[in-house]
Subunit: 148 residues, 2 copies
């Protein structure tokens, strides 16, 4: 099944729902889903505070979960939708997974992988950014505003 632009919006909205779950658990609201053959095979949100683990970003959990589902270390047939530009750690993990396509919403000008180099991702990983970026950024802004 080919994923069209309409599906991109649908799946990013599912990632947004994950981010909302994080928001209500008082976690930095970032969420993601991993899609293979038009189906969501993994979904996760940031869980660093509850797990007391700085590596428990949404993408890291979703990669582990998707690999387990597929029985493969490699996600070259998968698309990851995430509400915020991945950090260096997550981009490094996506490199090892040889992710097929990355779709992210908001840019992260402070901690996003692009600050260092686009080459951190696997050379075969397609990238699409900016989808639903205002909505996803607003959720983050609202979260940090209430923290002040």
């Amino acid at each position: 099944m080919e994923i069209n632009h309409c599906d991109d919006n649908f799946f990013m909205n599912e990632a947004f729902k994950e981010a909302q779950k994080a928001f209500y658990k008082d976690e930095v609201p970032v969420g993601c889903v991993i899609v293979c053959d038009g189906k969501i095979i993994a979904r996760a949100h940031n869980y660093c505070e509850r797990l007391c683990d700085s590596t428990a970003h949404a993408e890291m959990q979703a990669i582990t979960s998707a690999s387990d589902h597929l029985g493969s270390k490699y996600l070259n047939e998968c698309t990851l939708y995430v509400t915020l530009e991945p950090c260096i750690m997550c981009a490094g993990a996506l490199f090892w997974s040889q992710l097929g396509k990355l779709v992210y919403a908001s840019k992260d000008n402070k901690r996003g992988f692009n600050i260092h180099s686009k080459k951190i991702l696997h050379p075969k990983t397609e990238i699409l950014d900016g989808l639903m970026s205002e909505k996803c950024a607003k959720l983050l802004k609202d979260f940090f505003k209430q923290k002040r």
Copy 2:
């Protein structure tokens, strides 16, 4: 308890023992330990093949384990000893953990974090490299030689 150079060798040897465990499990032989107040609080080796998870590097598992042990996301009082220069993913994870000190043995000229930038680590993380580097590099070479 202050860690002296002799202890550095002791702890790197413990990391090497972890790498040997990986070797005998047919995993890329990289191992590490995390030390706090002179005691090993976490130890791990590469487990990517068995777990079928490209994120299961030694350092990632050890960070999660040490955080769980300390009940803290932050490892600023800890030293991580690892037999190979961390990759981008692991260096990114070490940034988030605010690791106190990183000691690594062999350089990784292909996938080590230094290829991109030393700034990937937290600015407060001390770095020591080259300890037992020949011994650790030999284990890796032997592993890949038998794979050919």
